[in-house]
Symmetry: none
Subunit: 195 residues, 4 copies
DNA sequence: GATGAATGAGGATTCATTCAT
DNA sequence: GATGAATGAATCCTCATTCAT
């Protein structure tokens, strides 16, 4: 349907567009750091040096943009799950370390944890992506640890993730609050209690 | 409509003002329940049957209003601390029950937990009131439990309260997430680990 | 519930507000003349020398504003119906003259005829007001003329009004098109045909 | 318009171009049916499977596109005039039937009647084409009917066409309004009145 | 010639806050 | 003291049109 010549043209276009999208993502990431993930679209466009329409073209909703910005890191986090399970001394240890990765990710993203919990429709995509990607990984780690009788077996991945996410809210704006530590406490609480 | 004890203009004025303020607080509380603590000022004024200016006169900032609305309950929670300590089998048990009270309070206040963590300046008053009131109580409970060697001794009241508050965010909008349960896990995590 | 003093205050407020609303209506009418009834809200606000919010306060939707601007004239038109029926030589004559009034109204309102036919939701109020007010009047005139065997009896008021309204669209922007004349032809067409 | 001597590469190119243009017109016609003649250019381009630039190359203004889409049908309508005049029992009958053709055309084109009356500059081309093509035909029919003393002789073709066009506005969006019927009334109104 | 990414004007709407009455 | 009308900044989103590849 398309001649080789056309293919060439198309490809170069695509390369351009991809480079441009990269610019957008970098700009968005930068703005997210300073103004949070709910920054005005106009600001992101300005930072990227493009028109607002360009943002909308690439990312119809803000959630799409956020997902795109963090997709790689979320994916990396997901992929680390099985690896940790294989390389750790125990399933619980793997779980602990995996949660640490997740927390590291969240606490460095200003406001991300907050919108992750937002009940605002329109963040649907964001919720979905996070949950679809991370819940299965977390579930497997929980199962393994529960199977080894290291932790309680009555907690579902989704609530653990949600709790961890919640604990990370505002972690970057208050020096008196150390989200990592508190997540540590939560994860410790997963262990069986000796009474 | 006018109290029997109506004597002297001054006293009746004060009584009126207090009655008026009571009306405002009741209205605000009602609106908070349905629309969250970030409801438009106009809605609250309408519910109270007063002008918006009246709200602003009594409560210069939204935080002042929120504080006023929940002061009694926060105070009651604070007062319950020493009582629980005296009446419980152990300091840890007292702590657990006190945290339960705090959680009960938060999860029934739509959106309160969220603004409690908001880094938005202007909620200063709110943060201050909550912390000033509850941190000492929580600290005493933690100290007692740590003194009895029931829990870790390296956690400060402020971070525990903050963590509990965070865990309560969005508790009322997602049936899959049970904040009370997760707070239970966190509090369990305060115990010394045997592993 | 309201003291006399308050009543005074309230009344003066109301008087002010009413005066202000008058300003708004005059401004809107003026802008409608030059830019049509779909003029930007900002333009109307500017013309009235008020903020946009003021327009929205008084008239939540554009249709509400249009209705308010033309209500008096629509009402006057409706009231003229029975009078014409009483004072004219024949029901048909009354109908003819009443339609003339309606046309006079429409052709002097730039773009009004157009939005009257718009299927755009949000003009609901406008449609409703026009139809509720004028259809019964027109129906009575049609009935009378049909009863006198002066015109066909198979046409409903709503379609006659709609047709007349349609014929007025764009009447003010094309000197070659005389809406009044063509409406005259339409009304003539209501008569029984002898052929 | 095209010289006979045009042979070789040029011709095949032209054939391609024509085929391409055909695709565009078909796509535009299809989109016009579903979304009206004011549908976004992007939608038309997408339907045709071409870039938006291609649309603009072929049809600099939306009016040009609309004209091109409907040219055949407008032309056919124009051509039917003389034929009807020749084959009908009377000039008036021919006029009536011709107007029916015009109405059939308009009411099946969602929104076309509306933009035909739009005073928006940029539809210049559209107005011009319609009028240049149809006014002479209509004029001849009117003249013939007037010459046979079947109708009034004081109406110009342009206003009759405009009136008919107006009556067709919105005919497809309101089941209570039957444009064909009302046009029938209008055309009946052209007849001499018997008193 | 074709493509479609980019632009950015344009218009709507909300709501915290002020201030004349 | 109370009122609530007025303000207007802030933000969202769409789509016609241009132009580099």
């Amino acid at each position: 349907m398309v001649s080789n010549a056309d293919e060439g043209a198309t490809r170069s276009k695509r390369a351009d567009a991809r480079r441009n999208e990269k610019t957008l993502l970098d700009a968005a990431a930068a703005v997210f750091v300073t103004s949070g993930v709910e920054a005005p679209v106009r600001d992101i466009a300005a930072k990227a040096g493009v028109g607002m329409g360009t943002i909308y073209r690439h990312f119809p909703t803000r959630a799409d943009l956020i997902v795109a910005v963090y997709r790689h890191q979320v994916d990396a986090c997901a992929e680390a799950g099985p690896e940790l399970l294989a390389s750790s001394d125990s399933p619980y240890e793997a779980l602990r370390r995996w949660i640490d990765l997740f927390v590291d990710f969240l606490v460095t993203k200003h406001g991300l944890a907050a919108v992750l919990q937002s009940d605002n429709a329109g963040f649907e995509t964001l919720h979905t992506y996070f949950l679809d990607t991370l819940v299965p990984v977390c579930a497997r780690l929980l199962d393994a640890a529960a199977g080894a009788d290291e932790i309680r077996s009555d907690l579902r991945a989704i609530e653990v993730l949600r709790a961890v996410g919640n604990l990370c809210i505002g972690a970057d704006s208050d020096p008196r609050y150390d989200a990592r530590r508190m997540v540590g406490v939560l994860i410790a609480g997963l262990r069986h209690q000796d009474g």
